[in-house]
Symmetry: C2
Subunit: 344 residues, 2 copies
């Protein structure tokens, strides 16, 4: 069955040189239409397959782009993946995919490997706790201008483009909505200190509370993983306290879904007995029971902008790094409602 045909195979068949074939297959106008067609026809019948290793070796670009996520179980992140894969495929680039799973080591390994593969750029949702050197260190000093775009999470003092959501605005919108409905006893569920997202949302929450003249204490803020289980067990715990909150703001829709599950088991009606809000507005938020009030993070726009920025960098754009902050939108559904009248 012979080996895979190469430019040489075609060249011999058609009776021209390898150079002519190379040029013809890329529609270079230097080759006459007649021979170009003969060459292309021959390539087709021989079943020629372009060898990107050879091309990449010579040209130094493999036509790939690397993308690294760290939480596949959170549909919010896979939304990014879909948006970006589509855009890169349109641009004729393949995607090298990595899943760091919140591990700095895995992230570092991925970055090294994707450089070995000659990826032209990297889009990264940095692992929690990533610092500047975790990204630059692996890429080494020979890659000073290597295009990197961070999305969703910010890492300060990095020389990279970043496209993130306006988390402060999102929390503000949620708080104002709930405050306007009469709520005064708030709880914040989820997040922590490790990601910019968690920090920003929590800070905004605290500021909103202060601005409204409400106090923030140990009972107000509860850190934890972004999981259904966390939301579920935390609500259980809150119900045990003397004065349960009337509004529960969750760091992520995922946590809010867990809260809704616990509410259901306890016969609590979210939106009536208790208001629950999420964050991200993933697709499922419109179909939870009840439908979840959330903040729509524009993953499509963020993904698009990130692809654009990366594209520009790969094309040689050397302007100083940009920090794009994408405004989100409040989406009011049934899980939030007027504060219940205080019984006392």
């Amino acid at each position: 069955m012979g080996r895979r045909p190469t430019l040489k195979t075609i060249a011999e068949e058609v009776g021209v040189t390898v150079s002519a074939v190379s040029l013809a297959l890329r529609d270079d106008p230097r080759i006459s239409v007649a021979t170009r067609e003969r060459i292309q026809r021959s390539a087709a019948t021989l079943g020629y397959v372009y060898n990107r290793h050879a091309a990449g070796l010579r040209r130094g670009d493999s036509g790939t782009v690397a993308v690294c996520l760290n939480d596949l179980s959170n549909p919010f992140f896979t939304e990014f993946l879909g948006h970006m894969e589509a855009r890169f495929r349109e641009a004729g680039r393949m995607m090298l995919f990595g899943h760091a799973n919140e591990s700095l080591d895995v992230q570092a390994q991925f970055i090294r490997q994707m450089v070995e593969h000659g990826a032209a750029g990297l889009i990264l949702i940095p692992v929690a706790g990533t610092r500047r050197d975790d990204i630059a260190g692996e890429r080494a000093r020979h890659l000073e201008n290597f295009p990197v775009v961070l999305i969703s999470r910010d890492v300060e003092q990095t020389p990279y483009d970043r496209v993130i959501n306006d988390d402060a605005l999102g929390v503000q919108l949620l708080f104002d909505h709930l405050y306007g409905l009469g709520h005064r006893r708030f709880v914040w569920l989820g997040g922590g200190k490790e990601t910019s997202t968690a920090r920003d949302r929590e800070r905004a929450f605290i500021e909103a509370m202060r601005a409204a003249g409400l106090s923030v204490d140990d009972e107000t803020i509860h850190h934890g993983p972004t999981s259904l289980a966390f939301g579920d067990t935390m609500l259980e715990r809150l119900l045990g306290t003397g004065e349960p909150p009337t509004a529960v703001l969750c760091f992520s829709d995922v946590i809010a879904f867990g809260v809704l599950a616990a509410c259901y088991r306890h016969g609590l009606r979210p939106g009536v007995d208790l208001s629950v809000t999420g964050f991200d507005d993933m697709g499922a938020a419109a179909y939870s029971s009840p439908a979840l009030t959330s903040v729509r993070v524009r993953t499509d726009r963020i993904g698009q902008r990130a692809s654009e920025l990366l594209g520009a960098r790969m094309a040689g754009d050397r302007r100083p790094p940009e920090r794009v902050v994408m405004p989100p939108e409040l989406v009011v559904r049934d899980s939030s409602g007027p504060a219940p009248v205080t019984r006392r």
Copy 2:
């Protein structure tokens, strides 16, 4: 800032030849320990980065594996992605990722590109409607032994390994569970004719109905997309019929979640007024309101087995293709319960 160092750079620094460096960096015993260490130290300080294009060109293997999904919005599929990425990374292989989004064209484009990239193998969840030639055609005749493993969905008469769930068994388990609870008026929601999964589940449902002496007519089976919206609107429609079902079996958890949402709005208590079951048992099934009875498809085992098979093929295994059928498990939760007493 100089170019990226190559073997040559190191060779000159250390005072040996390129060959020696190449061998030393791969720990070849032909190079003495002393020089090997000198070489490796030099590589480290120079910040040498392995060039896989050059190596791949010479050796013909790029160290990548391609994986193509087609529905990122369904967490069921991203579970596979996570399992497999982890296994390939451990094996030192990067993953070329594609998202066919149920488009045959995109899938074909992906397969062509990944061959160009010299991927060593392919794991594919074939797009609905894929036929034998859609896979083989793009790979062309020079790749007869190219390793391909299909997961989740079967394509008949293909010369590839396949790892799929035992869908017939899963449906049987669900049906028996519901029948045992006294249900007699069933409805099947979702699927269609395009994927083996949909066909197998539906066929098993029909057979179970017949075996139980129940008739299947136009009102029993409703095809549709695997989306929350489909489940939601279909339940609305069913409620409008004269004699609504007491048990709704959904092709996928995703559809079931949509059904639960509609139930909630109508004040129907799933598990009491109506039994609802899903399929796949994705993570969220345990946290819906109420928690969803489903069939756990072992994405972990399927992903693992698929990786193993692909690994064996890449290592040269030429045994005839295998068809692995993984048994699922019934998971009973709160969305299913005894059939309500018929009011008539």
